[in-house]
């Protein structure tokens, strides 16, 4: 893989998603869970290694998001809410806010 998501970016994603460490005992690598309203909505793994550029291209697959979205999560343009919206946990924002319909103007009758 082209090493799009490095360990450094994966850690930023973890912080951005406020993911909790839920690594099972004896697991060789760390596992993080994303919780929303008391429900586990996503999990992903981070490799235990000191190198910051270690490949973590699996993170976007674990989280069920596109590579570009994962990168945007890491580099600040996307938020935790955007992620929850992306995976359908919170309703999507309307495309363009529509103005409330005004009642048809009626001519004053004389």
């Amino acid at each position: 893989m082209a090493r799009i998501i490095t360990k450094e970016l994966a850690l930023k994603i973890r912080d951005k998603l406020e993911a909790q460490n839920i690594t099972p005992k004896h697991a060789a690598h760390d596992k993080y869970g994303v919780y929303h309203n008391g429900q586990l909505v996503g999990t992903f793994g981070i490799r235990r290694a000191s190198e910051k550029d270690k490949g973590h291209d699996h993170v976007q697959k674990n989280l069920n998001i596109r590579t570009a979205f994962a990168k945007q999560l890491a580099i600040c343009t996307k938020s935790r809410e955007d992620y929850l919206r992306e995976i359908g946990q919170i309703p999507a924002l309307p495309e363009s806010p529509t103005a409330p319909e005004l009642p048809e103007s009626s001519e004053p009758q004389e």
Binding site: M1, A27, H29, Q39, R47, H58, K61, I87
Partner: protein, 150 residues
Amino acid sequence: MSGVMLTMHRIVVESQRRQLRWNSTVFAMRENIRILTSEVTMLKCEIQRLHQQRTYVVGLTTLTPEPFKMIQQIPVTIEGDGEDFTATFVEANVSASGETEADAIANFKESLVSSYELLEDVPAGQMGPLPARQWGILKSVVRRVSKKAK
């Protein structure tokens, strides 16, 4: 005499013009060759990158040395470019990376098992749609062979 001088002058001027045209043609050709060389170099790099990029599917049949057993073979997609590899069980969103194919597969097995161990402890009501789907698939392909350590 002056006629000869005038003819000679015209020949010299014409020769100088030709030289200038030739020089500008050579300059333009050099520039084109430079651009072409740079484009060929870029194409060679792209071909090399595509040549190195490999994607294939292997069937995973065992989780040895983990205390788990595969109920059925699962397809694991290996993607890599020679420097980094990912192994993915697309259906269950389980994926892991590694520096080599073997490393990626070993990490994948570990990730599959830790996902199983993790999800088996989560009550159904506390599982979102994605983990619930993952758990449904995982328990249909993996089985614990030794008792869970308390």
